[in-house]
């Protein structure tokens, strides 16, 4: 593109290219800039390592918190019985009444599953679980009520909807009363949602700091290459041509920081696995921490490189414009 001279005059920049060629050249050139911008990181290895390290550590905290929340939630899901509702039936119901009640309750949208435990079943279960079942043999009649064990649908397992469902079920005429260990569930849910809030807050703060760190690193890199930038401006480089390598460097910082965070998180999980294995062994529970999935790793890298991009872009826009060339 020639501004001052038309193409036919005196051979100035007489090279003309079609749009396709231009497009291809653009991408070839970008690719070259992407690769050489890694070199920029090697140019100042210590400063770069520090930036990447700080980034990695900053991203490790939210990533670790995320894993904690995820695993606590999975505990929550595993202990389904916590959100089972026990409904005790009135005494003296006929078989027919019970089966019609079962049919009616099963048609509820809120109910996923319903299990009927007859008076006889209750006795058998009591005998096997309580350890003093013989005591029942001394009674004349079976004192245990028949019951329904209701598993609500996923939504209605949450504290408030579960409570509402219980109240609704208790109004059924066959039901004497129901029971739901709602407090325990409510507490766990509260803790989980608090942790989630904490993760979001901490992540947000640390992301801002990551952007600032990258922005500052890029600023220093721009200052150290002031002379080069001036020369490029003098020989006709556009702002975006000069800015691009710095932005790529920012993205590389982000990716490397993300990778560091991933490695640290993986190490932490591996480290805690054995300790947790011991505890869960004592409780005879089969529990292990679930680490970062592949898509979560992808998200981490995407966020990290995105932050690198934002930091670099912001810095580059502020500082490269400030550099005005002079003749000497």
């Amino acid at each position: 593109m020639s501004i001052l001279f038309s193409k036919d005059s005196s051979g100035a920049n007489a090279k003309s290219v079609n749009p396709l060629q231009k497009f291809i050249y653009f991408w070839i050139h970008n690719l070259r800039q992407i690769i050489t911008s890694i070199g920029e990181i090697w140019r100042t290895p210590l400063a770069s390592a520090m930036t990447i390290g700080v980034m990695g550590l900053s991203l490790t905290l939210p990533a670790t918190l995320h894993i904690i929340v995820k695993n606590v939630q999975s505990i929550n899901l595993e202990w389904d019985s916590a959100s089972e509702i026990s409904l005790f039936l009135n005494d003296g119901l006929s078989e027919q009444q019970i089966s019609s009640a079962i049919r009616r309750l099963r048609s509820y949208d809120e109910i996923d599953e319903l299990r009927y435990i007859s008076k006889d079943d209750a006795v058998t279960e009591f005998k096997s679980l309580s350890g003093f079942g013989e005591a029942l043999d001394y009674l004349e009649s079976n004192p245990l009520p028949a019951s329904f064990i209701v598993t609500p649908t996923k939504y209605h397992k949450q504290a408030d909807p579960a409570k509402a469902l219980l109240a609704k079920l208790e109004k059924e005429r066959e039901i004497d009363f129901g029971k739901l260990d709602i407090d325990w569930l409510a507490r766990l849910n509260a803790i989980v949602s608090m942790l989630e809030e904490a993760v979001i807050t901490v992540a947000l703060l640390l992301m801002i700091s990551v952007v600032l760190i990258i922005g500052n690193t890029i600023r220093l890199s721009i200052i150290s290459r002031k002379e080069e930038i001036e020369v490029m401006k003098l020989v006709g480089a556009t702002e975006s041509f000069i800015q691009r390598p710095f932005v790529y460097t920012g993205i590389w910082y982000g990716l490397m920081g993300g990778l560091v965070a991933f490695l640290i998180v993986t190490f932490v999980i591996w480290w805690m696995q054995s300790a947790i294995g011991e505890i869960s062994g004592l409780y005879m529970a089969d529990f292990h921490i679930e680490g970062l999935t592949f898509s979560e790793f992808g998200a981490l890298m995407l966020i990290a490189s995105g932050l690198g991009f934002i930091g670099a872009f912001w810095s580059v826009h502020r500082h490269i414009k400030e550099i005005e060339p002079d003749l000497d």
Partner: protein, 235 residues
């Protein structure tokens, strides 16, 4: 090629660097711009290279008013002007090849093969083809200046601007550098050289524009008066 029309430049703070300067450098002409330090030589070059904009008046290059060129267009306009600096301004961490190739890479429309060909041709013209792989710091001052010239001419601009290109060189090397400019001028490139090396100007018998305190006090041959002024100055 370059035309100044009643151009004044006042810097913030009130310093008046140029006052109502007018001249016309014809296409294919080679001229010296001279005057004491602070006379306005640098300001004049900065107006041509769009580092600064005039406070009053118009600067034309090839008939195009530079006042009409937006900030976004400046980089593209600069590609038509080859600039040479007193301190060469080479990128010290890059090889001679990379330095000379820079304008072509920036333009972004050349293949690797074309770049190599053009860089070699430019270095050949300044006699430094053998040093293509070296870093600038291993070259002498005169050689570095020639690399600077090669960089300025590699994309074949129709106009060369030089700011004290011989400032740090001894007379012998200065002559060499000026000869290089002369060669480009011989093939039709317009050249404007700012210098305070009066001896050099006297030897070259080119048109010379003299500035004093921001005013153009002489337009013609500096010492020799046998040919009266060539350009259509003071229009």
């Amino acid at each position: 090629m370059i035309k100044f029309e009643q151009v004044s430049k006042t810097y913030p703070g009130g310093f008046r660097a140029l006052e109502r300067v007018s001249f016309h450098l014809e296409k294919g002409e080679m001229a010296f711009l001279t005057g004491h330090s602070g006379a306005g030589k640098s300001t004049l070059l900065k107006l041509i290279s769009m580092i600064e904009r005039p406070s009053i008046g118009n600067v034309f290059i090839n008939g195009k008013n530079l006042n009409q060129i937006s900030a976004k267009q400046v980089p593209f306009a600069r590609r038509d002007i080859g600039m040479i600096f007193q301190s060469h301004r080479l990128l010290q961490e890059h090889s001679v090849f990379d330095n000379v190739a820079l304008p072509l890479v920036i333009e972004g429309t050349y293949t690797q093969g074309e770049i190599t060909k053009r860089v070699h041709a430019a270095l050949d013209k300044v006699g430094l083809l053998s040093k293509v792989r070296l870093l600038p710091k291993y070259l002498s001052g005169g050689e570095q200046q020639r690399v600077g010239i090669a960089r300025a001419v590699v994309n074949k601009p129709p106009l060369l601007l030089a700011d004290e290109p011989t400032g740090n060189l001894d007379p012998e090397l200065s002559k060499e550098i000026i000869n290089v400019f002369q060669q480009f001028n011989d093939v039709g490139v317009s050249v404007l050289i700012a210098t305070h090396d009066l001896g050099l100007i006297a030897r070259m018998k080119n048109r010379s524009l003299t500035l004093k305190d921001g005013r153009m006090i002489n337009d013609g041959l500096a010492v020799d008066d046998e040919k009266s002024s060539t350009g259509g100055m003071f229009l």
